[in-house]
């Protein structure tokens, strides 16, 4: 079973969101990295770009497949995890820690209500295993 931390919010497309004050940190779930297998390339959004919820903002590629990643909410990208450029495997090793992808501002806190909580996300991935 993959890990689904209770304090995080999720998208059904497997991104996780950690909300701390007015900043959201975004990564991909343990389940997603398990499905993809060894990651070898990560394309991240650029700092300073403004994105809308649901926008495709990057690509993560494993040996076997490429997968788009989507912005969970609207806001501005304020920091990206550039360590992933040379070490995309951090997402495999520590998806909820060193494997974070970017931090963004929260334009409309109400959009957070549209995200899945840990329990709902856990239920959504049961059939994948």
């Amino acid at each position: 079973m993959s890990e689904v931390p209770a304090e995080l919010k999720f998208l059904s497309s497997h991104e996780w969101v950690l909300v701390e004050d007015d900043v959201a940190t975004v990564g991909v779930s343990d389940h997603a990295q398990e499905l993809l297998g060894d990651l070898v390339y990560v394309e991240l959004p650029e700092t300073g770009t403004t994105v809308a919820a649901g926008d495709s903002v990057g690509v993560i590629e494993s040996v076997k497949a490429a997968s788009d990643t989507y912005a969970p909410i609207s806001g501005e990208i304020i920091e990206v995890n550039t360590d992933l450029e040379d070490a995309p495997e951090r997402i495999n090793v520590d998806p909820y820690g060193d494997g974070w992808m970017y931090k963004m501002s929260i334009e409309d806190p109400e959009e957070l209500e549209n995200l899945l909580d840990a329990e709902a996300y856990s239920e959504s991935i049961v059939d994948d295993d």
């Binding site: 297998g37 060894d38 390339y41 394309e43 076997k64």
Partner: protein, 366 residues
């Protein structure tokens, strides 16, 4: 639920992620396909290849039949030797690629792909009419493990009986030995040394367990694909199929046309040669960031081509591919990926031989 090989419980035991492969429930990896890839390049790994189809062809007309059926010539084979060949249709397209072993007088063993099993068997049966003394026996009673890597033979030999060890230690590349309880060939699909071992299905779990105990790492289909790609070995259905000629699939070397032997597809290949080939089959190394994938468009000064197999090379830590592109193109090409044009260098195959890169730091041939 798909077909399961006798080793399916062993895969679950070893923590495999199982996927459907041509109707078979097979391990894609046991955690990390890159770690498995590295085990084969640096030590020893094993693959369950029991899903592949084994066919024994025997009789006084077995040789004549295979000389008719196959684009490569089994007359080249000494006893105990293996030959890689394509089986073509009348248009010169590839029905399948296979290995044929010449085991005894009037006795050959053929190993074909699982994805093409039914059409292959139907084709073989159809071609067999007119050959009177010929027996074609499907061997669904056997299972197979491929043990590959620089230490594969050292780790595997002690698992055999003394008299078998003596015989196996003498095997040269592409040679096979047959015993009462097993068949062992020094062949594989990784670009490394090693054995492919065939046994009755009920005995194969014992071999798997002994190999595990000897320190051989279980490896899944994911690593098998990146290993064969680095080794420049074709994958049926990706790099060639019934619509493509071996002559534009990097397989011209497997087509024996020097003498007058008439085999299925020869006439079509002769027409292709007379008209001149329009495409070439090459290796590509991605110079920009990203990962090359099957079916991406290749843009060259002489027209478009297509990637037939693309992935990431754990050994080179770059993305590599095999591609069919217009003849005459050399140097650099561009590959269209997500609406961007990425630079790639054309190289000779293979990318990796026996664990060593065939390229320099700039991604060019040494």
């Amino acid at each position: 639920m798909g077909n399961k090989t006798p080793l399916y419980p062993c895969h679950l035991e070893a923590g495999a992620r199982i996927v459907d492969f041509a109707g078979w429930d097979m391990p894609i990896n046991y955690g990390s396909q890159i770690t498995e890839h590295e085990a084969v390049r640096g030590d020893a790994g094993m693959f369950d290849v029991s899903h592949m189809t084994v066919v024994d062809v025997s009789g006084t007309q077995a040789k004549a039949f295979l000389q008719h059926l196959l684009a490569n010539d089994v007359d080249r084979l000494d006893l105990g030797k293996a030959l890689y060949s394509c089986m073509l249709n009348e248009q010169g397209g590839v029905i399948d690629d296979l290995i044929v072993y010449y085991l005894r007088d009037n006795f050959y063993r053929v190993v074909i792909n699982s994805a093409t099993r039914e059409k292959d068997l139907a084709w073989i049966d159809g071609q067999a009419s007119g050959f009177a003394d010929l027996s074609i026996r499907l061997r669904d009673d056997v299972a197979m493990i491929a043990v590959q890597g620089p230490n594969a033979i050292d780790k595997t030999l002690p698992l055999f009986a003394d008299y078998q060890q003596a015989a196996l230690a003498q095997l040269k590349r592409f040679q096979a030995a047959e015993f009462d309880d097993c068949f062992v060939a020094r062949t594989g699909y990784t670009g490394e040394d090693g054995f492919e071992i065939l046994m009755l299905s009920e005995q194969i779990v014992g071999l798997w367990d002994r190999l595990l105990a000897a320190g051989v790492a279980p490896c899944g289909l994911g690593a098998r694909d990146t290993l064969r790609l680095e080794a420049g070995m074709n994958l049926y259905g990706s790099d060639m199929d019934e619509t493509t000629s071996p002559l534009v699939s990097g397989l011209g070397w497997t087509v024996a046309m020097k003498d007058a032997r008439d085999f299925v597809g020869r006439a079509a290949l002769e027409v292709q040669q007379a008209e001149g080939l329009q495409q070439q089959f090459v290796g590509l190394v991605l110079l920009d960031k990203g990962v090359l994938r099957n079916h991406l468009k290749v843009v060259t000064a002489q027209g478009e081509g297509e990637i037939t197999s693309g992935s990431y090379s754990p050994t080179l830590q770059k993305s590599i591919a095999m591609a069919r592109i217009p003849v005459g193109v050399s140097g650099q090409v561009e590959v269209e990926l997500r609406n961007k044009l990425l630079k790639a260098e054309i190289v000779r195959l293979p990318f990796v031989r026996e664990g060593k890169s065939m390229l320099n730091k700039e991604g060019k041939n040494k």
